[in-house]
Amino acid sequence: MRALTWQGTQDVQVDTVADPEIINPRDAIIKVTSTAICGSDLHLYDGVIPMVKPGDILGHEFMGEVVETGASSTLQKGQRVVVPFTISCGGCFHCKISQFSACENSNPVEKQDASEMLYGHPMGGIFGYSHLTGGYSGGQAEYVRVPFSDVGPLAVPDHLDDDQVLFLSDILPTGWMAAENAEIQPDDTVAVWGCGPVGLFAVQSALAMGAARVIAIDHYPHRLALARMLGAETVDFRHSNVREALLEMSGGIGVDAVIDAVGMEAHGFAIDNMIDVAKQKVGVGADRASALKQAILAVRPGGRVSIPGVYGGMTDKFPLGALMEKGLQIRTGQTHVQRYLHDLLAKIEEGAIDTTFLISHRLPLEEAAYGYKSFKEEQNNWIKVVLKPGMDASGAASRA
């Protein structure tokens, strides 16, 4: 089959590789019809997440048709399913309490040691990510082996097309959980750093959960415009002093909750960020956390800090004092996708949530490398890239 493989920092290519096979009884094989490139993929692309190896197939946002099932799979051939990016067994302690991304059994035993050493506990399995999370072949491919297929994949009705449901695999639940973690109260003002797909869905979710105001922060005009379209007010961090702006916009109180939808590769020329950029370049595993640091200073005392943005290592000059002295609450994590799937699918069916506004580009799988490069370098216009393995290369009109 054809698949997008990681070769090194900012080096990906579409290769011919061996097809996946059923290995365990609960497996299924999915023929991919749509798969997206995520901000998390950019962290892999840029080589800032440890333990990605040349030849690894990337992609954790995908959906498609069931073409093969193991003896204990509950899926049927021909079914259309969306697959959560987190792999969960459904039977362990964490799965049973709905903390699916902390599944104790989905990361193969031999792969657990690294994250156990790095984080004190092993991580759960994730498709197309790092060997820290199992080294599973991902979804930017024609076919994927999906373990525990009786737990993760969600069958979707035929009247909803791929573009409407694909983002159930990750970013829609991620934006939703980000807003849920902000524990929004009716009169709240919520600030969201980052107007990428995750930030935009967090804006949408926060408003749906009843936030009085949402303020979105970024520096790309087009991404900020999308946030305004959803109903947010915006702050461009290249034009305005973010902390001062938020303080004034909230009448001197400070915002009630903050959401960091930027993660470990924050942009900007704040001095701490420049030092972190330098450290990442020389490979000391420093996370660039300038958006998060800013968020912690901007939130009001007693406020909530929600962090969907991904971090992988250590960071310097963390405002620990502000965190404690202001009495903040922090909630974060890889999304417990399976927890939200059914409710969010229902909202899509009712027409209460639209996800298609996000898609700026549709490309054949063959042009995935071009998709990565553009999504990385032209973020203003490249909002979300969907790859279609079945799409005719000549049909790549959106390339223009």
Binding site: E21, N24, G90, K111, G135
Partner: protein
């Protein structure tokens, strides 16, 4: 509360926890409870920052969301152990009644060698302890315990293995095999045990059966046999 099974050895009951040669502190629970008043911590003995003489001791606990009796029964049939113990080729019961087994341990270069053990203590649904027989080339003892975890969490399983590498080819091989990283080995084995019982399979990220490591990672017995062939 839990009755002592008739398989336990009255002769060896005098050994307390059922382990002879190594310091009792390594095997933890009972001794730490007894000494709770003089010890300043409740950590299991094997986590101590000390060595246990000529014995290597590894210990590890895992919580498995299954009832105690189911886990106990699975373990008590020693022929199940190779399903999750990586270095174990097979266990042949020599005498089920007296709990004598021969363990065939995988060694480098496709060889296996045998260790004879017998169950030295057993409490239904609670504890199984085994020990190598005097004839065995390798001196080893092990103990697995099962206790209820709080609420719905299932069962806490503790595994402690001690062994004393002795001379001879087999001894050297075993030492090499286990010394590679005995702690890791125990941890991996217990995690596989958990996977097998909680999910019915052992996770692998291999994409196809021919992937390097696929057969080694995959769960089923047949895979292991094929690999042997």
């Amino acid at each position: 509360m839990h009755r002592q099974s008739r398989r336990s050895w009255p002769k060896l009951a005098a050994l307390g926890i059922g382990l002879v040669a190594i310091p009792a502190v390594a095997f933890g629970v009972a001794s730490s409870r007894r000494r709770a008043d003089i010890r300043s911590d409740n950590a299991p003995g094997f986590t101590a920052r000390r060595s246990f003489g000529s014995f290597d001791v590894v210990g590890r606990s895992v919580t498995i969301r299954k009832p105690r009796d189911e886990l106990f029964r699975f373990w008590r049939d020693f022929s199940n152990l190779p399903e999750f113990m990586e270095n174990l080729d097979k266990v042949v019961p020599d005498d089920t009644e007296s709990g004598r087994n021969t363990w065939f341990i995988r060694a480098p270069a496709g060889k296996t060698f045998a260790v004879e053990t017998r169950v030295v203590r057993e409490i239904d649904n609670e504890l199984i302890a085994w020990r190598s027989t005097p004839e065995s080339e390798i001196e080893t003892e092990g103990r697995v315990t099962f206790e209820d975890a709080p609420g719905e969490r299932g069962t806490r399983v503790g595994l402690i293995i001690a062994y004393k590498p002795v001379g001879g080819v087999a001894g050297k091989m075993l030492a090499k095999l286990l010394r590679r990283s005995p702690e890791l080995q125990a941890r991996h084995d217990l995690k596989r045990f958990k996977m097998l019982l909680e999910t019915g399979e052992i996770s692998t990220s291999a994409r196809c059966r021919t992937d390097h490591g696929a057969t080694q990672q995959a769960s089923s017995h047949t895979d292991r046999n094929e690999e042997q062939a």
